[in-house]
Symmetry: D2
Subunit: 326 residues, 4 copies
């Protein structure tokens, strides 16, 4: 059993706590959070204990650290944990600022750091990638990534989020890189504020389309909205020379109702906690494999920086109306 400390007892931290505690090869050694009440409640729920970050990093029994604290701490905590010799599981994004993120290159490029882009661990997207890589439909030519939230976050969240590209589309930039098999060399983005005027007043957009182009000419469209009107919408279409692979949304059940109006499928899974529940388990399983020493991180610091670079390029393109090289 590898002892793992959790930094951050918020919404995503609670997901990781459960997956650590229930994992056959991991134990939740400690919970760290500046809000003592939250740390205490979560530690109690999983028969763990409350600790400080310093305490955890100094504890030779702690093999790994899961960083699920606020975004502005991701980079610093990762560097400190890596320096302390811990394996690091860090939530996305690596940082909101590309220049700052790049300053950690020496510290983190060689670190045992899993950057938790959870969608890479979704069974549907994993199957799509495996079949694409297996050549089932020939050579990839273009991607359509559709990623819409069920509803917009509160303005207070938007104000500190870093904007739609760094906060929401960052996942899609990572998926694009993962699936394209080549780095995008040109980024163009267009956006509007159609959902919530308050988002516009904060200088952000809530509806966007981003075009990516790789050196060999592969194209990718990323479609984002802060509110789909029909729930959480997470789909990928990969167009290749001999066909297309697509991963569709997940319904809550397979039950359909047939009425005079036609055949209606069940609603889509509500939001990321449901849709990506298995992805969260699988990424923690991958972290356990890293702690076993049986593999290195399949997605790490460099991927976090590269996705952030695309997000900054998209934001810049949106402002300038120009194509931007990331």
């Amino acid at each position: 059993m590898h002892k793992v400390a959790l930094i951050g007892a918020g919404r995503i931290g609670r997901i990781h706590a459960r997956n650590i505690a229930r994992h056959p090869r991991l134990a939740l050694a400690a919970v760290v959070d500046p809000v003592e009440e939250a740390a205490h409640a979560l530690a109690t729920e999983w028969q763990s204990r409350v600790a400080t970050l310093d305490g955890v990093l100094a504890d030779p029994d702690v093999a790994g650290v899961v960083i699920a604290s606020s975004t502005d701490t991701h980079l610093d905590y990762s560097v400190r944990a890596a320096a302390a010799g811990k394996a690091v599981f860090c939530e996305k994004p690596i940082d909101q600022d590309l220049a700052r993120a790049r300053t950690a290159a020496d510290a983190l490029s060689g670190a045992r750091l899993l950057l938790a882009f959870n969608r890479r661990f979704d069974p549907n997207f994993q199957a799509l990638k495996a079949r694409l890589d297996g050549g089932e439909v020939g050579s990839l030519e273009s991607l359509q990534i559709t990623s819409n939230d069920p509803g917009p976050p509160p303005p207070a969240y938007v104000a500190v989020s870093g904007g739609l590209f760094k906060d929401m589309a960052i996942h899609d930039f990572d998926m694009a890189r993962w699936l394209l098999g080549e780095e995008p060399v040109a980024v163009f983005a267009v956006g509007s504020c159609l959902v919530d005027p308050e988002i516009g007043r904060l200088g952000d957009v809530d509806t966007a389309r981003t075009l990516l182009r790789t050196a060999s000419g592969r194209l990718c469209v990323i479609s984002n909205s802060r509110r789909s009107g029909f729930g959480y919408d997470q789909r990928i279409e990969a167009y290749a020379s001999a066909g297309m692979l697509r991963a569709d949304n997940v319904t809550e059940t397979t039950v359909q109702a047939w009425t005079e109006a036609g055949a209606a499928a069940d609603r889509f899974q509500n939001f990321f906690l449901d849709r990506y529940a298995e992805a969260y388990r699988r990424e923690m399983d991958h972290f356990a494999d890293m702690l076993d020493g049986s593999c290195s991180a399949s997605v790490g610091y460099a991927d976090g920086v590269a996705a952030l670079a695309l997000a900054e390029a998209a934001a810049q393109s949106l402002r300038s109306g120009q194509v931007v090289a990331p």
Copy 2:
């Protein structure tokens, strides 16, 4: 151009009139109906003329006769038209009475008679049969035929219809024979009156399940209801040794609505006039081929009798609670 006379200017007659008149190799020579007004209106619509049955049968220019008059005339008119040397297109059923239908064996067994089981000409069912016969999923083992109407007919219709098995399921018995590739040797039926109590008072059922078994053991279930609750429901599943082929319902368009409730397909095509519009065209095209002399009827008198025998067996099983050999 083959001159064709139409007997019967009712709902189904009007369908056939249009398909004859628009057919590149057929001409609508005359319309016959005891209701002169109906005959006249239909003849006028398609630039044809009104005639009598005797006149039509005596007219050497008339090559074919389409019998779409009331069921009790089907057998007599077919015999007379065949005796007059005409090619015959006769609506289903051949008759409501099996014993009487069989009396026409000498007259009709060798006749050029197309018994118009329209579903054999539906593109979906034809494709299913072609793929099944092509061995794509191995050897057929069992069938599920689902055939539900959108709503019950008026009691006055039910009273003279011959009952659910002869009136409605007769199509399904024909489909079963067509697809099973073997004659059913055992029939068992169960039924209820769940839709309209008036149907029960008339001694009929409105909901039924019929089991067929062939000599080699192939099984078939026919599911019927006079009212589906969701429109016209016409589906077939063919289970075979290496998979299953199914023909599903047809939606009006491919448009889906995605809302908070999930993904909803468009409504199903309303009723037989819509769902089988192409089948009606194709069966008339087959009749034109018969008139060309390029083929004989793919479904004829013997098929009409065999389907009727199954319907009578089912009705008898329903009454007796016993398995019946048709």
Copy 3:
């Protein structure tokens, strides 16, 4: 934590062991199996211990017993465990012999006994039932239960299985009772040996259709095959006065391939261990609720007997060609 002993370390026992061990309110107190090696391996895997049935029943710390041993022991062990004051989780069927099963009525009718018809706990079927009971599509009129295995069991298994109706369709009889909301009063079955001639030589069938009818006239068709040709096939259609609810098969992922041949969905989940993994977890969760005292068994001894009665009626109908009252 409720201490639970597991009787039977075979395939299904291993599923239950995992679900007990990982359950937040249950602990795997002991594993009992005449094959010591199997008991030992399973106990070791979940940090439990090996015990005897007598030892378990005498242990006041053991609150519940999960009976996953061979079918011929179900009834006896249930009676003994109930007599010892334990809550009982017993695998289906309650017994292969209806008369014998009924002898336990005094002992088990009032017992805290969960008869583990797992499909009642499947999320898809539960949702279908909840929506049906909620009146979304009006009043139920008929059911289509499709239940096909991916491939036939070995002849040695068939020989002691009790036959297709008691071994395989027993699940479907329970589903029919659960969903029909009324007891079937008439049973008719037809069957064939189309998959494996060896099954026929053993006096069994491998392909069957069973018709059920309730007192109010509701109809149910159960379709069974020991080999579907396309994997595990578990579907339900519930026809009601204002529409139809259907639960479809579950695919492994949502990935589709679009090629010149059309759009192809992913394969169906392989067999019951995959398809009903969540159902097994939910039924164990229900057992935990029973141990908490927060509910009584939602499906128990009487349901086991009733399903068995339908299975015997179906087998008798198959032999006699007559309708049988269960």
Copy 4:
């Protein structure tokens, strides 16, 4: 019966000839084509006659002219036919050159001219638009138009086609305008040559993505490829404030095959002649309505110019890498 002359006896001319000849209110008065053999064959097939353009325009009995000749003649013939007082049905595009097309504004702005953007008459897209306009899913925010051909045209065709945007995407620009309900004010396009290097040598692309933005901020992505790898691919997704409407591809039949590989739908309809057969009939029906005087053209010269302006803007954006105002 309105007498209609057909100019052009090529592939699309033959479609229109059939739809005119079979239309209850139209008659095919004459066929005009510089290739006499083609004109003669088509006239013979539909019992019409061969004529010259001058003859047709001078004939007072000819009420309407269908222009299906080569693209470079569309504008000139339209002007001449309008001047002769004929109702005009003109194939798309109105011209390959925007400036030249605009020179006909005086002659054609007020003309009875139907510009035959066939997709506006497709039943699926018409239903989508009607439901969108009906407010079923709230207010439109963005569009995804997917339009891929099954395979690339021969290089000789590409060389004179005007390029992907004017030749192929012109349909999609029209659909975008039709559905967006607002004129695009910004166009950005990116493209690659991934399908056939010969297309690249001719200075064209075979894979493109075009972004449109309207004044109110509505967004539209148009996805084009000269070869999809899975057949003709014509889909629309319309994202609105309360949900999404989508029109999917059309399969040849409803037959599915269920095998060990999963459930496979039938192939998609092959290419535009099949997929848009009903659209071609409906647009001719609309032309008949115009000839009746019961309506004016629902899509005309101004729409042809506007779509062409978007195509030129896209081509310019592709070359410059800049956003272009059409």
